[in-house]
């Protein structure tokens, strides 16, 4: 399981998680979900410190964070 699990169908592509991640682990995908939003995804898992900030800042409860 990944450290950060993003539900791409819930995501509205607002980029708050991308901007607030202290390790710049997240990016925005280049293809849309079924609602037409470009969802966020975990692009650099090795850099992720499982701090939970992306999950807390996501307004749409699209992110869950885990620690190995």
């Amino acid at each position: 399981m990944k450290k950060v699990v993003i539900d791409a169908e819930r995501c509205k592509g607002c980029e708050l998680c991308v901007k607030y991640c202290p390790k710049q682990c997240l990016d925005i995908a280049d293809s849309t979900n079924s609602k037409g939003y470009l969802p966020a995804f975990l692009a650099r898992e090795d850099d992720c410190i499982s701090c939970g900030i992306c999950g807390r800042m996501c307004p749409d409860s699209a992110i869950e964070v885990f620690k190995p």
């Binding site: 399981m1 450290k3 819930r10 509205k12 592509g13 607002c14 980029e15 708050l16 901007k19 607030y20 939003y37 499982s50 701090c51 939970g52 900030i53 999950g55 807390r56 800042m57 996501c58 307004p59 749409d60 409860s61 992110i63 869950e64 964070v65 885990f66 620690k67 190995p68």
Partner: protein
């Protein structure tokens, strides 16, 4: 794998209707987490406003009602007085609480109602298309102040937390925001305390949360967060305006 962050049990699985990046969703989560942590989900009743949060009952996994515009504190008063063992809160925007509902919040505070009020101030009428609110900043452009709010014409923005803190019946009055992870944690602590105070039989408890409206402000969600820090916080300072020692 160990859980670091998961969605609260006091939220339903429904997708929120809020615009992408709107801070209403973040504030809902803080309220829901507070309800979870205090173990009061089964006995909490929410009163939703008229405004973008009118559909909040779809998202809180608790019993909710919707009040007429601005009347949530009056409705919450009735519910709490009939069911004093329940935990009752209102969730209201600035158009709802500070404009059409100004009398209701002032008198609910004056009576010292044992309720919790989450006041979401985004300096605009979000739902109706971005009109000027009493909280709109001087110079801020909205659809009804296209050249920016002018003091000579509309007066100065109302500081609700400061005003309510002068009312003896208000038990706790604070202002927070959710613009950084640190501010968010502080906001969570303050909201949780505003519920704990009610559990302890105290009221009225109000938390003003400086929020965003990326859509009507014409800014990205992240720029909107910065705009709160740079423009709203200097006029609407954060902090506890009235919190008794016993509640700290």
């Amino acid at each position: 794998m160990q859980d670091v962050y998961r969605t609260s049990n006091s939220l339903t699985k429904n997708t929120m209707h809020y615009c992408p990046g709107c801070a209403h969703g973040i504030i809902h989560k803080l309220v829901a987490e507070s309800i979870d942590e205090l173990g009061i989900r089964e006995k909490t009743i929410g009163v939703a406003p008229v405004g973008c949060a009118v559909l909040a009952y779809n998202y809180f996994n608790i019993d909710c009602v919707v009040a007429a515009h601005g009347r949530a504190p009056a409705m919450a008063t009735g519910i709490k007085r009939v069911h004093p063992d329940r935990i009752v809160f209102t969730y209201q925007g600035d158009g709802d609480l500070a404009s059409i509902g100004a009398a209701e919040i002032v008198h609910a505070a004056m009576r010292g109602e044992k309720i919790t009020v989450i006041f979401v101030n985004n300096a605009i009428y979000g739902m109706t298309g971005g009109q000027m609110a009493p909280t709109t900043l001087v110079g801020q452009k909205t659809t009804t102040s296209p050249y920016g709010r002018q003091v000579e014409h509309c007066g100065s923005p109302i500081r609700i937390a400061e005003m309510l803190s002068t009312i003896p019946g208000a038990y706790s009055v604070s202002r927070v925001t959710v613009t950084t992870p640190a501010n968010l944690m502080k906001a969570k602590k303050t909201i949780k305390r505003a519920f704990q105070n009610q559990i302890d039989g105290k009221g009225l408890n109000i938390v003003e949360v400086l929020s965003t409206c990326p859509t009507n402000w014409g800014r990205t969600p992240y720029e909107s967060m910065r705009w709160v820090d740079e423009n709203m916080v200097p006029y609407y300072p954060l902090g506890d305006f009235k919190v008794p020692e016993e509640a700290k």
